[in-house]
Amino acid sequence: MGLFLNTVLNGVSEGMVFAAIALGLVLVNRATGIVNFSQGAMGMMTTFVAYSLLSGGIGYWPAFVVALAAGFFLGAAVELIFIRPLQGKSPLNPVIVTIGLLVVLEGIAGSIWGVTSRGFPPAFSQRGLRIGSTRVAFSTFDLFIVAAVIVLMAVMIAVFRWTDVGLRMRGAAFSPEVARLLGVRVGRMFTLGWALAATAGALAGLLAAPISSFGPYYMDLNLVYGFTAAVLGGLLSPVGALVGGLVTGLCISLVGGYLGGNLEPLGALALLLAVLMARPQGLFGSAKARRI
C-alpha cells in the first residue's frame, strides 16, 4: 500500500512536469501548427543559464526569473531566425529544423558545461511531507511543481479566452489571412506564441532539473513524455495537456515502480500507441471535420 501510494504521488509530480512541457508543445502547435522537438532542449539551455547564475552566488528566485525571461527571448529568436523563413513551405521543414536545433543546443550545453550530470537545487525542501506518523514521497517542492503548472495552465487559458492579445493569437492561428485583413500582426502573434511556449519550457526545465539527473540530455526523456502527454490531450487543449501529463506521469511511475525503471519509455510508448488506436484525436480533442 505504501509503495502504491508513493508511486502514485511520484507520478503526480512527474506528470506535472510533463504537463508543463506538453503546454509548451500545445502553444507552438496552436500558433504555427508544428511539433517543436527543441522544446525540451530550449528548457535545458535556460536551466543551465539559471545554474550558472546560482553558481555565481545569485539567489534562487532571481535566477528563476532570469531563466524564464531567457526562455521568452530564446523562443522568440528561434521563431524569427529559423521558423519564419520556412513559413508556407512544407510543414516538415520547420519540424526538421527543430530536431537539428535539439542536437545543436545539446552540443553547445555539453561543450560548455560538460557531460556529467550534476545536482540542481530545488525551490523548496525535497523532504517528504509527514501525514500523521508516516512520511510520504511528496515534498514541499512537489507541491510547488503542482501549483506552478496549474497556474501556468490557468494563465494560458485566461490569456487565450479573455485578453485581446489572446484573441489575436487565436485568430492568427485559426485563419491567418482573415486575421491579417482585420489588422492582426500575424507574424508577431506567431513569435509571441513561440516565446510563451519557450517560457513554459523554461519553467519545465527548472522544475524537472532537481528530480532528474541534470545534464545536457536530461530533457530528452522529459520531452518524449511531454509529447506523449500532449498527444493524449489532443495537442491543442491546455486542459488536455495537463490531464495527459498526469496520465503519462502515473503510467510511467507505476511501470517504473513495479516493473523496473528501464521499462518506463516502453510504458509510455504502449500508452501512446493504445491511445492513438482508440482515440486518435486524443482524449480531449474532438474529431476535426476537414473541408475538401
Binding site: 504555427t32 501548427g33 508544428i34 511539433v35 522537438f37 529559423f82 519564419r84 523563413p85 520556412l86 513559413q87 508556407g88 513551405k89 512544407s90 510543414p91 516538415l92 521543414n93 519540424v95 526538421i96 529544423v97 530536431i99 537539428g100 536545433l101 542536437v103 545543436v104 545539446e106 552540443g107 555539453g110 561543450s111 560538460g114 557531460v115 485559426f174 485563419s175 491567418p176 489571412e177 491579417r180 500582426r185 500575424v186 507574424g187 506567431f190 530528452d220 526523456l221 520531452l223 518524449v224 509529447f227 506523449t228 498527444v231 523496473g260 528501464n262 521499462l263 519509455p265 516502453l266 509510455a268 510508448l269 501512446l272 500507441l273 493504445a274 492513438l276 486518435p280 476537414r290 475538401i292
Partner: protein, 403 residues
C-alpha cells in the same frame, strides 16, 4: 487553418517520372522500362564498386562496406520522408532491432547468412507495422514523436533484458568467413554493397510503381489522395514498414562490420544523424542516400581529427560530430532543402541548358506551385507585398492610373 500548398521543397527533389529521361537522353539511352533501367544501373554500379573495392586497402574496404549498410537505412528513410512526407526519429532504434536480431541468430543458430539477414529485415518490418499503424493516424510530423519514443525505448529494453541481449557488453558475432583467398574485409564489403544495390533496385521500382505514386499523392494532399481511391492509412503504414525493414537490414549488415552489438551502439543521436544524412544527401532520392551514407561514415572521423588538430577539450570533441550534423540539418533545410543530390541535379540542368544554348525547360507544375505559394503564404506579410510588386511589374499602366 488553410493547408500550405504543396509540392513541398523537400519533395521537389523527389524522383520525377520524367526527370531521368530529360538529362540522361543524349549521353546514354537507358531502357524506358523501370525494372530494366534499374537493373542496367545496378550492373553498372556493381562494376564500379568492384573496381573500387579491388583498389582500396583493407581498412578503406571496411568503411566502404559500412557506407553500403548506411545507404540501405538512409534509402529507406529517404523514401519515407521524401516520397511519403513522414519523419522518423527512430531509424537508429530500428537499425538496433535488425542488429540484435541478426546477432541473436548468429549466436544461437547456424543459418545461412542470407536467411539471417532476411529474418532481421522481416522482424524490423513487423515492428514498423506495429508502430506505424497507430502513428499513421496522426500527421506526418507526429510519426517523429512516436519514433523518438521508440529510439529511447530500444536501448533501455536491451539493458533491461541483459541475459538475452548481453547488456552493456552486448553480443559478439563472428564475421562471415570469406571463401578462398579473398581478403575478409573485401568479402564483407561485397556482401554489404551487393545488398545495398539489390535494395536500391527494389526501392527504385517501388517508387516508380503505383505504390510510389500513392506515397507521393498522400504526401502532397491526403484528402485528395483518399478521394482518388487511395487508402491513406495503408499507404502510410506501407511506407513506414518498408522504410523500417531497410533500417533493420542496414543495422544487421552493420553488425557484420562492427562484430558486436551493445546498448551504446545505437543511441538517439544515431537516429538524428540518419535524418541529417538523409536531408544532406537529398530527401526522396536514392542516390542522395549514398551521399548521406558517406557523410555518416566520414564526418565523425573528420570531426575527431579536426578537434584533435584544434586541440579542443575532450568534452567539445565528444559533441562536435553531433553538433555538426544538427547544424547541417538546419543549414541545409534553410539554404538548400533538396540536399546534395537536388543541387547537383539543378547544376546538371544548368550546364545542359548552357551547352545546348537554350533555356532550361520550364517546370510548369513547380512554377505554378511557387506562384500559388507566394499568393497564399500563411503568416507572411511579405507575401502580399510580393504579390503587389509583381502585379505592378506586369501592368505599370494600371498602377499609374491608380496613383
Amino acid at each position: 487553418m488553410t493547408r500550405a500548398p504543396s509540392p513541398v521543397p523537400v519533395a521537389e527533389s523527389a524522383i520525377r517520372p520524367d526527370g531521368d529521361r530529360r538529362d540522361g537522353g543524349h549521353l546514354l539511352r537507358l531502357p524506358e522500362q523501370p525494372l530494366l533501367r534499374h537493373l542496367v544501373l545496378m550492373v553498372f554500379g556493381a562494376g564500379l564498386l568492384y573496381l573500387l573495392t579491388q583498389s582500396l586497402s583493407a581498412y578503406n574496404n571496411f568503411q566502404v562496406g559500412e557506407i553500403g549498410a548506411f545507404a540501405i537505412a538512409l534509402a529507406g528513410l529517404s523514401v519515407l520522408t521524401g516520397q511519403n512526407g513522414q519523419i522518423s526519429l527512430g531509424h537508429g532504434a530500428l537499425m538496433a532491432i535488425g542488429a540484435y536480431t541478426v546477432a541473436l541468430l548468429m549466436v544461437h543458430t547456424h543459418l545461412n547468412l542470407v536467411v539471417e539477414l532476411a529474418i532481421a529485415t522481416l522482424v524490423t518490418t513487423a515492428v514498423g507495422v506495429v508502430v506505424g499503424v497507430p502513428a499513421a493516424r496522426l500527421g506526418g510530423a507526429y510519426l517523429a514523436g512516436v519514433t523518438l519514443l521508440l529510439a529511447l525505448t530500444v536501448p533501455l529494453l536491451a539493458a533491461q533484458y541483459g541475459s538475452i541481449f548481453g547488456g552493456e557488453q552486448g553480443l559478439t558475432t563472428t564475421p562471415p568467413s570469406a571463401p578462398g583467398t579473398i581478403n575478409p574485409e573485401r568479402w564483407l564489403a561485397w556482401i554489404q554493397l551487393a545488398a545495398a544495390l539489390v535494395v536500391m533496385v527494389l526501392l527504385g521500382n517501388l517508387v516508380r510503381s503505383r505504390f510510389g505514386r500513392a506515397f507521393r499523392a498522400v504526401r502532397d494532399d491526403d484528402v485528395a489522395a483518399s478521394l482518388a481511391g487511395i487508402h491513406v492509412t495503408r499507404t502510410k503504414v506501407l511506407a513506414f514498414s518498408v522504410s523500417a525493414g531497410c533500417a533493420g537490414l542496414g543495422g544487421a549488415l552493420l553488425v557484420l562490420s562492427t562484430g558486436v552489438v551493445n546498448t551504446g551502439e545505437f543511441p538517439l543521436t544515431l537516429s538524428i544523424e540518419l535524418l541529417a544524412g538523409m536531408v544532406i544527401g537529398g530527401a526522396g532520392t536514392l542516390v542522395g542516400a549514398w551521399w548521406g551514407a558517406i557523410a555518416l561514415v566520414y564526418v565523425p572521423q573528420w570531426s575527431t581529427s579536426l578537434s584533435s588538430r584544434l586541440s579542443l577539450g575532450t568534452t567539445v570533441a565528444a559533441y562536435l560530430a553531433d553538433a555538426l550534423f544538427g547544424a547541417a540539418l538546419i543549414v541545409v533545410i534553410l539554404a538548400a532543402p533538396s540536399g546534395i543530390q537536388g543541387s547537383l541535379r539543378r547544376l546538371a540542368h544548368g550546364i545542359a541548358a548552357a551547352t545546348t544554348g537554350r533555356a532550361s525547360p520550364p517546370n510548369p507544375p513547380a512554377a505554378l506551385a511557387r506562384l500559388l505559394r507566394s499568393a497564399d503564404v500563411p503568416g507572411g506579410t511579405r507575401s502580399s507585398s510580393d504579390a503587389s510588386t509583381r502585379s505592378r511589374d506586369r501592368s505599370p499602366d494600371q498602377v499609374a492610373t491608380k496613383e
